[in-house]
Symmetry: C2
């Protein structure tokens, strides 16, 4: 990672293992968060830890998470339960000459904090627009945008904001790093790149008279 | 999901929200776990929940997780701390006619339990072979396999086994489900498929005399 990186924001957000791959740089974190859209949210319950996948979108210095107002996870997080929210992007498999040095290229962000429920209705409407546009750039901002939430739908939707204050980034990239004496081995070494790749959009088969596939769906890209 | 599905294995593993998308079928869970290879492991600490991404491979009725013997997460899990391990595969973005009904197609498995450290050295060697072969099918079983762990490398590696007893599966697939009155709207609806797609393998640039790219790397596939 580029140095100088800011210091860790807290004790619990300090990366201990392979610390040279860690960063606490806000811009680095934001770039990773903007490429991803699925987070794993951890909370502590009476029954132990629970980790649930959820959609998210970054909105400035906060992460927006939404879901059903009936969700236990969201209700617990809205009540101020500490959360740990982790986003991981997989970039490739690293094949080394030794089993030991096999690895994975990835970028991850681990965020600690407490989420706040967005109670104000207008703010919630705006946040939901940010979420849809964040997940599918163009979906709200381009023509033929989807119908916005009704009063009833708004009531059924909880939106949480988690401050992006206390976080760490970890990145592994590049080639295999083998023991010096292993470079002579007759073993292929290298990286198999992996990307979450979009396919050809599949129009809803229930309706024959659909508008054409929008370019933001045909050329779906988050970066 | 196909019915009949077995009943939930425990209270905490019971899916509450949108329960018709849930399953407790072991074969369904195994198929998802075999396609993925990154899990998010949650534990409870004095500082609150922590969620860390890690590689895993399924080995029969258990999940194998490995890492540095110095890892706090692994040491904590090896000591019997309850864990929640979640695996999520992203299959697509679902664009509905209303913002509210936008969704994501995914398959996830949430596992609760306590992991056991594999202390026996031969068992650990075998488990590490299963892990490398599981991550890159062919890497151990085909010619030019990587060098196996030395004594020192084995000592530096912790391998944990988590029983696949207490788990739930959740799957969302198929098309957008809109409100009846919205089907007339002039809004494109459909699915943007997403897959973790392998690219062209990148041979290690440090060495000019590499063996040819193995077919399991060139045609990387987990399913």
């Amino acid at each position: 990672m580029a140095s100088p990186s800011p210091p860790p924001p807290s004790e619990r957000a300090t990366v201990r293992r392979v610390a040279y791959r860690a960063s606490y740089d806000r811009d680095v974190a934001h770039a990773i968060l903007d490429e991803g859209f699925v987070a794993h949210v951890g909370i502590t319950t009476d029954d132990g830890p629970v980790v649930i996948p959820t959609l998210y979108v970054r909105d400035g210095d906060r992460l927006l998470i939404h879901g059903s107002a009936a969700s236990r996870l969201l209700r617990s997080a809205a009540a101020g339960t500490p959360v740990c929210v982790t986003v991981t992007l997989i970039d490739g498999l690293v094949l080394a000459r030794s089993a030991f040095h096999h690895s994975v290229n990835y970028r991850s962000v681990v965020i600690f904090g407490q989420a706040q429920k967005i109670d104000d209705v207008d703010e919630r409407r705006a946040a939901l627009d940010v979420i849809v546009e964040g997940l599918v750039p163009g979906r709200i901002s381009q023509p033929r945008a989807p119908r916005r939430p009704s009063e009833k739908e708004l009531k059924a939707t909880t939106v949480l904001a988690l401050p992006l204050d206390e976080l760490s980034v970890k990145v592994r990239d590049g080639n295999a790093i083998d023991e010096q004496e292993d470079y002579d081995l007759d073993v292929w070494a290298g990286v198999i790149p992996l990307t979450l790749a979009p396919g050809e959009p599949i129009p809803d088969p229930l309706v024959t008279e659909l508008p054409p596939i929008p370019s933001y769906a045909r050329n779906y890209s988050r970066v």
